[in-house]
Amino acid sequence: MANLLTLLASTASTLDAYGRVLETTQNNVSNASTPGYAKQRLPLAALPFDPNAGTPGGVQAGALESSRDQYLEQAVRRQTVSLGAQQQLVDSLTSLQSLFDISGQQGIPKALNDLFSAFSAWGTSPNNQATRQAVLDKATVLAESFQQASAGVADQEQAATQLISQTVDQVNHLVGQLQQLNNLAMAGNNKDPGLDAQVNSTLENLSQLVDCTATRQADGSVTVMLNGNHVLLTEDHQYTISSLESMPVSPPPVYPNAPPGVQVLASDGSDITSAITTGKLGALLNVRNQVLASYLGDAYEPGDLNRMAKQFADRVNNLLTSGNITSGPPPEMGVPLFTYDGSSDATIAQTIAVDPSVTPDQLAAIDPAANVSNGIALALSQLASPIDAADKIDGVSYSEFYGEMATRVGTALNDAKGQVQVEQSLVAQAQSHRQQVSGVSLDEEATILVEFQRAYQAASKFITVLDQLTETTINMLQV
């Protein structure tokens, strides 16, 4: 009997015929014609089988090729969107980190240390005019440092808001380009490889900004969805998105004077902010509405910078007002040192200041309860290394609390930097996989998948072993 494929090639070139042959050989490729799956039915084509001529036969897939191309394009876009997010995080957090010095040489930590030193010196010489003046001077510097940090974070918020607006414009612009390409495709150019390349390239650019999925339609147009839920483009109709700063209405804001958040709205005005979690836009929204808000506050949180400023000012003021300036009789009560706008806890850091009417003579050093002439000054100096819970914030000293704020930015930045490297490699990996594709042969592909699975299992096993060995090594190297 002549070889079957040669026979088929000459007598049964249609796919149905090939399917029937496969059925008769009990090869379940016939499942390609599974009822109800007509649209994704696999058109198979037999390759010539002639060992003498070097043609090995086998099966070639038609529609499968385009499915795989689309899958690989989508895989590249999926990795690109994560890379876009991490790169934006690195940019934004690098700027933010510069505001949070942890060296103790500038900003709030230096001002805080200097004020603690001034309190300590005042405790040693409670009646010395110079040490009293130093307390006032250093307290003023600390208040200014809070204001500067607050203004710096506010500037970052402004910059992020602007970038969000620009990124939204970029998204609309790219979707507009895709809309024009859709028009060309629907006009009958859907087989044009140049057009296809433009669509893929535009989608890749778009995926740096937002998580988008693209589905190719029968007329050659692409439907673009944001995060798989919100339509940005279908056929020749574009749905633009927009951004705006706004204070949420429900639940009612606890801190209405806090900086408003940024929302992204769909073309029908609905809020789709929560749907944008990755890509450059997702990262910017995260930085603007979560990271920066954690310092300066939002509708529902006062922000750590404001909390620290308020709690520190209140504690210093409480100690000073519990003391006496003179023993009398009659004793002269102490006065508060710091002032701030108390109308909202979310604006303390930007309004904190030293009361300009307070003179060095009005600083209350005397602790009337213990009848100690420098009791209050010593209690203030204790704020540097607190024991009493009232001298702490969230269970730690003010310096430590600030350190945690700064470390939060630093850690997030380091994580993002590490992720950028990994995401870059994952994008390169997906691109490399895409480039390897040329033509599809089902049987070859099946072999590759089997080989891959075997190689993957081996590599995966070694990774697990290496991971354990490394952990053990690190533990053994500890002192």
């Binding site: 494929l5 090869n27 490729v29 490399s432 089997v450 993957y456 990774i463 290496l466 090594t473 053994m476």
Partner: protein, 120 residues
């Protein structure tokens, strides 16, 4: 084994894992095979000197190298998962295209698992 020697061995193991990372950027079965060999070599190297690690206990540099190795292993692990994701998701789609769905709505397994050839 001295701390310096431990440090050197860790550095070399790290270089092997880094080579594997580079290979994983092109996730073909062939490159994965080579990658598995490199990972195996790195594992053998570490297992080989681990009994003598006490000599380097407390060494800052050795600890730094070990942490760098851990970071590289984690990097390789991410890339390996990425490669697996590329292949296995495609395999799933391919199975669906070829074999449709099971009655439970899951992708049916494509019956072609090996080379198809016919002889008459």
């Amino acid at each position: 084994m001295s701390a310096v020697e431990v440090e050197r061995q860790l550095r070399e193991a790290c270089a092997e894992v880094d080579d594997a990372v580079r290979l994983l950027e092109t996730p073909t079965p062939g490159s994965l095979d080579c990658c598995a060999h490199l990972l195996e070599a790195a594992g053998q190297r570490i297992a080989g000197f681990q009994p003598q690690l006490q000599a380097a206990a407390g060494s800052h540099n050795a600890r730094q190298e070990a942490r760098r190795l851990r970071s590289s292993v984690s990097y390789a692990s991410r890339l390996l998962e990425g490669a697996a994701s590329l292949y296995f998701h495609w395999s799933r789609i391919r199975d669906t295209i070829c074999a449709g769905y099971t009655p439970r709505g899951e992708p049916a397994l494509a019956p072609i698992r090996n080379r198809i050839s016919f002889q008459g």
